[in-house]
């Protein structure tokens, strides 16, 4: 494995939020939102980070950019100019130089655009902060960026409220794109959008990656969207990565019981596939008070005695398939079943 094409290496990343109670605001506990995760992203690759709400996937994405200050761990970013740098240790000046290369797209397009700035100002702001362009050069570059994401440049002087959800998300993408980053963290960029608009935005992200070759860390909860966009997928459960593998491997032959349960829970868009597989019972445990041993053991139907005592580490079982389960090699789990082939064709076009 050559390390030259490595863009981001995350080692033992932790983010704990203190719980303060009482008059003195004493710390009485910790919410271990992200509790020691390891992964890497290569140049131009898409890693999907998937999990249920509260599993720490968004916190992990933000901790990498230091939008949340990490509690512990290393985030090694391979900057095109500065070389490999631990983001968590970087000072203010270094961060300023790193930021153009690591950008983020937020989930909610209605709250992530400043309502008092015009679209041109929003997309141009990163260019101004980094002193990349000003005057007509700036507006030319903004127009070019807007065209790139499918917004007419004439709309530069309008405010975000004049745009629909899908268009706003395109503006958010243009802003992330402005400084030619080598990594974009996409924090659930399509979950607030309607299905037809979701497909447009996913296609746009695909096209941009093909053209500019940046890597994505795609955080999401919709397994079908994650499957569509990702080269590799990591599954998170209560602050911990339980399985990480190439997309096809993870979906067709999962090795962790939680991944199996997640895949089985998705309602299949095919009325002839109405199965009632074994459902996961109970709820996701609170990251403030997780169970002992493997965090998944109280809900796991394969759990044995060791699972409630010892927490399994994330181990490579071959071909970059990482699993955190004591019985990863023994269990035979079912993944995605191939769908029956549905032909969908438009009726032929006609004239009057």
């Amino acid at each position: 494995m050559t390390t030259d094409d490595m863009l981001l290496e995350v080692r033992g990343l932790k983010k704990h939020f203190p719980i303060r109670t009482g008059l003195m605001r004493r710390v009485t506990g910790m919410v271990k939102a992200v509790d020691g995760i390891n992964f890497h992203i290569r140049k131009g690759e898409t890693l999907g980070l998937v999990g249920e709400s509260g599993c720490g996937k968004s916190t992990a994405g933000r901790a990498i950019l230091r939008l949340h200050e990490p509690t512990a761990g290393e985030v090694i970013f391979n900057d095109p100019v500065l070389g490999k740098i631990d983001v968590t240790q970087a000072d203010r000046e270094t961060m300023m130089k790193l930021r153009p290369n690591m950008q983020i797209i937020f989930q909610d397009p209605f709250t992530s655009l400043n309502p008092r700035l015009t679209v041109g100002q929003i997309v141009g702001e990163p260019l101004e902060i980094q002193h990349r362009a000003k005057g007509t050069e700036l507006s030319d570059r903004v127009a070019e960026l807007l065209k790139e994401v499918g917004i007419r440049p004439e709309n530069m002087t309008r405010y975000p409220h004049a745009f629909s959800g899908g268009q706003r998300q395109r503006i958010g993408i243009a802003r992330a794109l402005a400084l030619n980053p080598s990594l974009i963290i996409c924090d659930e960029p399509v979950s607030a959008l309607d299905v037809s608009i979701q497909a447009q935005v996913l296609n746009l992200l695909d096209e941009l990656q093909e053209k500019y070759g940046m890597a994505y860390l795609f955080v999401g909860h919709d397994l079908s969207v994650i499957e569509h966009i990702s080269d590799r997928v990591a599954v998170m459960y209560v602050g911990y990565i339980v399985e990480m593998a190439k997309t096809d491997k993870l979906y067709f032959s999962p090795k962790h019981p939680y991944t199996e349960a997640l895949l089985n829970a998705i309602p299949k868009a095919d009325p002839r596939l109405r199965t009632r597989p074994e459902r996961l019972q109970g709820d996701v445990p609170s990251p403030a008070n997780p169970p002992s041993g493997c965090y998944f053991h109280p809900r796991c139907r394969y759990a044995k005695d060791i699972c409630s005592v010892e927490r399994p580490p994330l181990t490579d079982i071959g071909d970059e398939h990482f699993v955190a389960c004591h019985f990863a090699r023994e269990l035979s789990l079912t993944g995605v079943q191939p769908l029956s082939d549905i032909k969908l064709e438009m009726p032929p076009a006609r004239t009057v």
């Binding site: 037809s196 998705i266 459902r279 769908l339 549905i342």
Partner: protein, 344 residues
Amino acid sequence: MTTESPSINLTSHDDVVRVEDLKVSFYTQLGVVRALNGVSFNIPRGRVLGIVGESGCGKSITGLSIMQLVVAAGRTEGGRILFREDAGQEPPVNILDYGKNSPEMRKIRGNNISMIFQEPMSSLNPCYTVGNQIEEAILLHQTNDKTEAHKRAVEVLTKVGMPNPSRIAASYPHELSGGMRQRAMIAMALSCNPTLLIADEPTTALDVTTEAQILDLMRGLQSEIGTSIMFITHNMGVVAQMCDEVAVMYMGRVVERATVDDIFYEPRHPYTISLLQSIPRLGRTKGRLASIEGSVPDPYSTTPGCSFHPRCPVAIKGLCDTIIPEETIVDAAKGHTVRCHLNS
């Protein structure tokens, strides 16, 4: 006079609800929003009808209209909602004849027809225990005896699969998880054994594993009690797993109605086809997703002709942009109808 939809004679068997040419508009300071432009469909007794569409297509307003819960700015401008409590009762009553606050409507709402909302946290009252809130409906409609009401509330909580139902009855909504709250909502809706249950995106706010639990529960209860369900959703996967019949809505009209099998395997309307093409499916090879060009038009504007024609890849110039297509029958036996010029 409004013209009656031809498909009304299609289904001769017993319908719980038959909506005919329902029109609802909202008068706002910014203009008139025509939310429903003549919606017609029927819910056969004991079946699950799915109402699918993107946000703003009028699917929730349709549900709220049946409950007569549309806010004051919304005016019902035409159509009928015929409700038939049991198969023997003759003739069906038109819900729209009753005033919103009339005793007749209050007797139906929450008793014969009940509703589950999308966001369980904002539809439960934080100041009362879950048990209190379920008992309220039972005391209003079924019995005056408070101990009897409490007993029934605990019973119905047991039915929806709550572990330790008497403890849950004594807890406040904030003490429960999202899935538990939605179970409590379902318990409340089922407490009076309704003839029709309207479920407005009941699983959208939930995680996949919780969603699967709730869908299993609803399907189990449906086959056990035989309640008819109107299931409003935007998720095609949920439709495929839950529904018997489907009505696809776009811009305040039902554009296609069929059995769930026909919607997925023999869709006729270009909008239904595009919608199915645009969803990423598990286990499919990568590649470009087919997407629908443009976005849903501004609600204040009116589109002449077929409301889908500006985004339709096969629209016929000079026809689709001028004349609103009538509902035509594709398969009378299965009740498959479509509103599209290409199919007439």
